[in-house]
């Protein structure tokens, strides 16, 4: 049996419905929420600010730190133990790396920008939603960056190539491959690429192309969220 029709009825190259909002946390330098289907991410940016302990400082360029965390009630199963774990640390690291190239870090040597990503509701693709939200939050914080970054998961369920897998597709009984990617908005560079599963070389390049197209749609949602509230009557 193959996977002929997606569980929620959308097309194979379609993302789930998206919703984004900038400036949700007043006390932060910048903040945003990003919702894609049932996956929700909150991103909060603090800084640039002074960095301690002092030995972490880099006198040539600024630093970015990401703190990814799933909230205790975010999963479909039991309580998720809060706090840093192996998975959260990995996602924090790859997210920080996804932004390093686009941020103008030389603007704030010796200082740090902290990004807090919280996932209140998870239905696969949380690191990608986190990246999409963090990108809006960084722009909202007025931090200089050459381009925006959007994240989406692509992959394979049974024999079909899909964009933006949800949890039922990621955990499909006939096997699935999950490839979270992040794409920059101007140069279409891939700043995050991970893969859990297997697929042929041909399938991979095809699915990546689909992912880049999907990220363009996410960019539009990010842009609309940032510009909301600044319309001049």
């Amino acid at each position: 049996m193959s996977y002929d029709k997606r569980n929620d009825g959308r097309g194979f190259d379609d993302c789930r419905p998206m919703e984004a909002k900038a400036g949700i946390v007043k006390s932060a330098s910048g903040s945003a929420s990003f919702k894609i289907g049932e996956t929700v991410a909150f991103a909060t940016v603090q800084g640039p600010r002074d960095l301690y302990p002092k030995f972490l400082k880099n006198p040539k360029k600024g630093k970015i730190r990401v703190f990814y965390q799933m909230m205790p009630f975010s999963g479909v199963g039991g309580r998720i133990r809060p706090g840093p774990n192996r998975r959260a640390k990995e996602i924090s690291m790859v997210t920080a790396k996804a932004f390093e190239e686009v941020l103008c870090l030389e603007d704030f040597p010796n200082a740090v920008v902290d990004i807090y990503i919280d996932i209140p509701q998870a239905d696969a693709g949380t690191r990608c939603a986190g990246i999409s939200a963090a990108s809006i939050a960084l722009a909202d914080a007025g931090i200089r960056m050459t381009e925006m970054v959007a994240g989406v998961a692509v992959g394979r369920t049974a024999d079909k190539l899909l964009v933006d897998l949800d949890y039922s597709e990621e955990a499909h009984e006939e096997g699935a491959t999950d490839i979270p990617i992040a794409v920059t908005s101007v140069t279409d560079k891939i700043s995050l690429l991970q893969m859990d599963g297997d697929m042929t070389q041909k399938q991979l390049s095809e699915v990546l192309r689909k992912g880049i197209v999907a990220c363009k749609a996410i960019n539009e949602v990010q842009k609309a969220a940032l510009k909301k509230g600044y319309e001049v009557a």
Binding site: R49, A141, Y230
Partner: protein
């Protein structure tokens, strides 16, 4: 290739948004060139100055610049001078020589001049590549602050609060009869005989901060202030 401007003056743009194509335009503050096009680096308002494109940030923290007048707080006293927190990621030093025109004896009690937690209006003398900041208190308008109240505003909105040649700030001073000092770092000091007028000045500054991106600001604020003052009398 023909050059084309893709945006209008005062449009709100996000990082990575294309501003112009072709080689006839020049990138300036907040923009960069990539191949044939000019893109924004920051979320903000576009300024078209002939062929030069600029983007002024809408939000973002204060980064120290030479010759800026800022309001800071004395956080520590060392033998070399006073440490001043200028509400940016970087601390600043007010050296002994720049602190007073008196001759200060070695080992003298420096709290006689400025004590910890005093607020001072200082000018930035120099900022080096590692963002070490030196300030001075010698100069017109630079002083220790006594009484009054301090409020913090978005530092990117400071030019709007001051207005062209100080038109906006004079408007506030004349209508409310208060003394107002605005630091480039977004700290505003207000002092007046009448606490109600202090309230009004604060409210006005908050209003300017919220409406800074809408054209016709000075006229609108002028009328609003007249209404408010008229209502109080």
């Amino acid at each position: 290739m023909e050059s084309k401007l893709l945006i209008k003056e005062r449009d709100v743009v996000i990082p990575g948004e294309e501003l112009a194509s072709g080689m006839d335009f020049l990138p300036s503050e907040g923009t960069y060139r990539l191949e044939n096009s000019i893109y924004s680096k920051v979320m903000g308002l576009v300024k078209v100055d002939g062929k030069v494109l600029k983007v002024r940030a809408l939000r973002g923290g204060y980064l120290p610049k030479r010759n800026d007048t800022v309001i800071g707080k004395v956080t520590d006293i060392m033998s070399a001078g006073w440490f001043i927190d200028i509400f940016s990621p970087y601390n600043s030093l007010l050296p002994l020589k720049e602190g007073s025109s008196d001759f200060i004896q070695r080992g003298a009690d420096l709290t006689r001049y400025y004590d910890i937690e005093d607020f001072v209006v200082v000018k930035i003398l120099s900022v080096n590549a590692q963002k070490q900041v030196d300030v001075t208190i010698k100069g017109p308008g630079l002083r220790k602050l006594k009484g009054g109240r301090l409020i913090k505003i978005n530092s990117q909105k400071v030019p709007r609060v001051i207005g062209k040649q100080g038109s906006m700030i004079n408007l506030i001073k004349e209508n409310t009869g208060t003394q107002v000092t605005v630091g480039q770092n977004g700290i505003v000091w207000i002092k007046g005989e009448d606490p109600l007028m202090e309230n009004l000045a604060e409210k006005t500054i908050r209003k300017i901060e919220a409406e800074a991106h809408i054209p016709g600001l000075t006229d609108r604020i002028g009328e609003w202030l007249k209404d408010q003052v008229g209502g109080k009398k």
